[in-house]
């Protein structure tokens, strides 16, 4: 995972050139290593955008074809990883558009943002006309237990299920940002959305996942 999450250090620049060259030459073991390194994250991103695992798998397959056939034209203006993911996101977006809605993929973000949504249920705050504490917590969050329980397999499943249940563009943004490690700027470029929309969608997505965890931990303590 670390390999994916960190931008290559300057001295890796040559390593990446060598990898690109190896792909151009049809080096199978380098290709296999790349597939093993990026395959999982690619499938996760494609599935998050398409909302369907089988469609996601097709998109990943199409992407590798496009990458191998297009690697001669790769100019190294972005990292190889970012380039591969931009091919992937474009294919996933076309798959979504093919689903039959006439809405262009790039319009989906704004539509979700405009829908509005509060990060915490409004009932958990005191009313605006409260004499002493307007809009302060009526039902505050309870601290969670020791942080190690956040790493358990069960919590991970809860997180995965919470992400799966998000609206499409929230899911795409949180998957690129928090699960895959892309920066805000890279995510905006990949999804062709504004910085503002990216932040709103990330905010709502993270808030929803926090709520799910809160509910999960509350249930566990009972």
């Amino acid at each position: 995972m670390d390999l994916l999450e960190t931008q290559p250090a300057p001295e890796d620049g040559r390593g990446e050139d060598a990898l690109v060259e190896a792909l151009r030459m049809g080096d199978e073991s380098e290709f296999a290593a790349l597939v093993r390194r990026l395959g999982g994250p690619m499938l996760r991103v494609a599935t998050s955008i398409c909302g369907d695992r089988v469609v996601g798998e097709d998109v990943v397959q199409e992407t590798w074809v496009a990458v191998v056939k297009g690697v001669d034209g790769f100019e190294g203006r972005s990292t190889l990883k970012t380039w591969i993911f931009s091919v992937l996101v474009r294919r996933a977006a076309s798959a979504v558009e093919r689903e039959g809605r006439s809405v262009p993929f790039t319009a989906l973000a704004s539509a979700e943002v405009e829908a509005g949504e509060s990060p915490v249920e409004i009932e958990r705050f005191l009313p605006a006309d409260h004499a002493r504490w307007p809009h302060h917590w009526a039902s505050p969050p309870r601290p969670w237990g020791p942080s190690e329980q956040l790493g358990s397999a069960e919590v991970r499943r809860e997180i995965e299920s919470a992400v799966e249940d998000l609206a499409r563009m929230q899911r795409a943004v949180i998957t690129l940002r928090d699960l895959t490690g892309f920066t805000a700027a890279e995510t905006c470029r990949l999804l062709e959305m504004t910085e503002g929309n990216q932040r709103v969608l990330l905010h709502r997505a993270r808030s929803r996942v926090r709520r799910r965890l809160e509910r999960y931990f509350a249930g566990e303590q009972r």
Binding site: E28, W64, P141, S207, L213
Partner: protein, 96 residues
Amino acid sequence: MSARAALTCLEMVELVTGYVEGTLLEDERHRFDAHVSHCPDCLTYVEQMRLTIDALGSVPPESISAGAERALLRAFRDWTREERGNATDPGPRRGI
């Protein structure tokens, strides 16, 4: 604008992502800090958002199945053979 009332908890939950991302304006950030420094509930909330982000980052992706990997490698061999075939043999293609 600087003399605005202190932040409420309801405003805090809206600003928390901007705070964690470091994109708040300076004035907003000061109001945020001032609020959280004397509101333990909001401090808990900010902490939970941070824990949530960390937890999201620690969920490993499924790895690609062995079968899918083999299929990709087989295809890779074909694609590169095709490519080379095109480069060295500009003559008419077999088949169709």
